[in-house]
């Protein structure tokens, strides 16, 4: 009798029962910790561990105190470099692979797709260790490979040098995750109406012209979506740096990003003790950076692209 929901003044109990478990777990273990972390970033602890309200003093310390600001700006800049390498290497490779895979009458399409996507499934930790072994001068695999192509003089311990370590790690991450842009852009390309492409072929356009003038503009919204996904993942990254370079993100903090800085601040390292309130401050900074990125995507990129790309 009380079957059809919604029309009754009293809130139907089955709706509550369906929604409650998911909402409670999500609120308790996701939303509450996020909000409470933001609250904690406004506090400080004293010698006996009591919390005192501190306003935005932690943020001022983080961005301007000589003891903290160096590490913070270093991690933030490194994180931007990490993201930029993804943008300018991962996206072009992903677009190229997707464009090739979506060409008509290609045999072995599914096999290529499945195999190229494989590294994405593996743990970042495992991938980090594998590349550490491969790039290790001890093993010499990369050296002998470079010898085959005649570039052996090129070889350097890329992961060990301050100038190259961060870019090398970014490229390892690109190698692992290029399957995601490839797959999403490939799906977008399959959705392009056939008439458009066929019309262009009849007009005598080459594959290259079709790609450049028809397909690329139509997949711009997908590229924007891939970019924001990459942005969020990059500014939240930790596992790769931690497993290859440890919490100290060496050499000399040259691979330190926000995730590793957060870990060290929160748990401490070497002689410095862990600091939960400063940890919460670093995490909240990461939250703001990610939020800015997401809002930029939702309110600028998505709107603009929707207007032009349809």
């Amino acid at each position: 009798m009380s079957a059809s929901g919604g029309k009754f003044a009293r809130f139907p109990h089955h709706i509550v029962i369906f929604l409650a478990p998911a909402t409670i777990i999500y609120t308790l273990f996701m939303i509450y910790p996020l909000l409470d972390s933001i609250r904690l970033s406004l506090y400080t602890t004293d010698g006996v561990g009591a919390y005192h309200f501190n306003g935005i003093a932690n943020y001022i310390t983080l961005i301007s105190d000589p003891e903290w600001s160096g590490a913070f700006w270093n991690a933030l800049m490194n994180n931007f470099k990490f993201f930029m390498v993804h943008m300018f290497v991962q996206n072009p490779i992903g677009i190229m692979l997707a464009a090739l895979l979506s060409l008509p009458k290609l045999t072995g399409r599914t096999t290529y797709r499945t195999l190229i996507f494989m590294p994405t499934m593996l743990s970042v930790v495992i991938i980090g260790f594998i590349w550490q072994l491969i790039l290790s001068p001890l093993w010499g695999v990369s050296e002998s490979l470079l010898e085959i192509v005649g570039l052996v003089d090129w070889f350097q311990p890329w992961l060990g040098q301050e100038t190259t370590a961060l870019v090398t790690l970014s490229l390892i991450s690109v190698w692992q995750f290029v399957g995601i842009p490839m797959m999403l852009i490939y799906a977008a390309m399959l959705n392009i109406p056939h008439d458009l492409v066929e019309g262009a072929i009849i007009d005598g356009a080459t594959h290259w012209e079709i790609f450049w003038h028809i397909k690329l503009p139509l997949i711009l919204p997908t590229i924007a979506m891939v970019s924001i996904l990459t942005f969020v993942a990059n500014f939240n990254a930790f596992d790769l740096i931690y497993s290859v370079k440890g919490a100290l993100a060496g050499p000399n903090f040259s691979t330190d990003i926000m995730g590793t800085l957060f870990y060290r601040t929160f748990f401490g390292f070497q002689l410095q003790l862990g600091n939960p309130t400063m940890g919460a401050t670093v995490a909240t900074m990461m939250f703001f950076v990610i939020l800015l990125g997401v809002l930029f995507y939702l309110f600028v990129l998505q709107r603009k692209l929707r207007r032009y790309a349809l």
Partner: protein
């Protein structure tokens, strides 16, 4: 003329895709073949396949003797399976309520639950650790399951709601005319119908949970509760110089995921591409 040019083009396309496939697979392949070789062979001929005189299982025996690999493995399986089951049932219940019933605040609740798709749960770690400690759940698998369920629900609810909107209304209305309760409708009719979406939700939940390092590291780092990802990370940290053991532990961590991937790749790829269409 044009036919010959087409053949050249096709060969070129296969050359590029083939080369990239090699780049994607070679590091994984190299790790696996070398884990079956003796230490000498690993260094003398890294690219060679294990042969009669270079074959060795020394690395694997070392890993199994020196670490609790079986425990890590069981921990990972327990956490992943329990998380997956909870996410599917609780996620389907919420998705059903949001897509089926019209009530005040429906849209807002949907938006609220969607925040977690974009904002990573890791950013709340400071308070989350405090909460877990206060609940006496530190160093338990329960802590990991609760956090992973919270982390996976937003995307699961999103995918399942899209799916549930496609269930024909006749089915539900017919049941309602027979006076069947809303619970029976959901558990007997709707839940079985969501089976096709389960594979998609499954892979999106399973992979990040299985591969995660952060939460095992901060919430459950004890020897008895380590997951495979954390276990391998700690093991390698300890035995960096023992190449046999390192390669073997990497292989042990890779192979199960590769098997699952090969079995599920079709669903996974369909899931990703279907999601992108929207």
């Amino acid at each position: 003329m044009s036919k010959a040019r087409n053949a050249v083009n096709t060969a070129g396309i296969h050359a590029i895709l083939g080369t990239y496939t090699l780049i994607a697979l070679w590091p994984i392949f190299l790790t696996i073949i070398n884990s079956f070789k003796s230490r000498k062979a690993i260094f003398r001929d890294p690219m060679g396949l294990p042969g009669v005189d270079s074959f060795s299982l020394k690395g694997f025996t070392k890993v199994l003797v020196r670490s609790d690999f079986e425990i890590y493995f069981m921990n990972s399986i327990t956490v992943t399976v329990v998380t997956l089951a909870l996410v599917l049932v609780l996620g389907a219940m919420a998705a059903w309520a949001l897509s089926e019933y019209k009530f005040k605040g429906n849209k807002w609740l949907g938006l609220y639950l969607a925040i977690g798709i974009m904002i990573p749960i890791r950013l709340g770690s400071v308070s989350l650790l405090q909460l877990i400690v206060d609940m006496n759940l530190a160093n338990t698998l329960t802590a990991l399951v609760l956090v992973y369920v919270a982390q996976s629900l937003p995307l699961a609810i999103f995918i399942l709601s899209e799916f549930m909107q496609q269930i024909p209304t006749d089915l539900k209305e017919a049941a309602r005319c027979d006076g069947v309760s809303e619970y029976t409708i959901f558990f007997r009719i709707i839940l079985p119908l969501t089976r096709p979406a389960i594979a998609t939700v499954g892979v999106f939940t399973l992979v990040p949970v299985w591969n995660d390092l952060w939460f095992p590291l901060i919430l459950a780092p004890s020897e008895k509760t380590q997951t495979i990802t954390l276990g391998v990370q700690q093991f390698i940290g300890q035995y960096v110089t023992d190449w046999n053991a390192v390669l073997a532990s990497l292989t042990l961590a890779i192979v199960p995921i590769l098997i699952i991937y090969i079995l599920l790749s079709r669903h996974l790829i369909r899931g990703i591409t279907a999601g992108a269409v929207k």
